[in-house]
Symmetry: C2
Subunit: 152 residues, 2 copies
């Protein structure tokens, strides 16, 4: 097992801290095993036009598959939180994303170029503070424009 | 003066209600004069990749110009609020938008077709509950794909 910083040893108590740890461990570092600590047994992508899994409800294995496949072209990706709002147990987070286009995407072979994107996500939780789903918008057109420019 | 429903006669007291009235009167109905009741003297588009005014700070006249120009190709547009979260005086709202493509856009002459889009916006307020700016993501690629399909 790889070493983890102290912050990863225990689940934080507030939902904002939980979500910050989730984004760092799961989506920035890609720690598949850590999904068990954050994701409910059923996770629904309520709305997410840029995600191939949009509209689906995933079990833990499905979520891990989505995580691995989503990160494969962008292994060094980072989400930087801009703002986090909590209301009625739901959290809205706005973020900037950056990554190296290190692996192939459909129609876009790896270029090694840096790409950036912005987005906003609403996360829902269950009574055990596990994530049950999201509603997300990303500026996917911005990414395509950068990839097209790199392809020329 | 056109007749207004009772809800428009006074500014609601809660920020969520203010924002709902703002979206209805300003962006759904396009009532330019009503901007004075909702918009601060300086309004900043902090982040908005799909908006030609992104990054700019507008005065009231500038905001009205943006409103008129944004609505011109889509005069019957409607924003339907999906969720509203308030935290620390800021509001996050997720929405679905639909409109008839009734006016010309750059590269996309009017088609008369229905188009839809989803988005998420964070709105900031001043101490007088006037809007001072926003941070927004829209699925602009979804709109381009619909317009391209209509163009063929």
């Amino acid at each position: 097992m790889t070493s983890s910083p102290p912050a990863a040893a225990t689940i934080p108590s507030s939902r904002k801290a939980i979500l910050a740890a989730f984004l760092e461990l799961i989506w920035n570092r890609g720690e598949l095993d850590a999904c068990d600590r954050f994701i409910a047994t059923r996770y629904t992508l309520h709305h997410d036009p840029s995600d191939p899994w949009a509209g689906r409800t995933l079990d833990l294995a499905g979520y891990k598959e989505r995580l691995a496949m989503s990160r494969a072209p962008f292994p060094d990706q980072r989400f930087e939180v801009q703002a986090m709002l909590e209301d009625g147990g739901t959290i809205a987070v706005t973020w900037l994303w950056s990554a190296t286009h290190a692996g192939d995407l459909p129609g876009f072979p790896a270029t090694g170029q840096r790409v950036t994107m912005s987005g906003a996500t609403l996360y829902s939780f269950d009574a055990d503070d596990k994530l049950t789903g999201h509603w997300q918008i990303t500026d996917r057109l911005g990414v395509y424009l950068q990839l097209q420019r790199n392809r020329r």
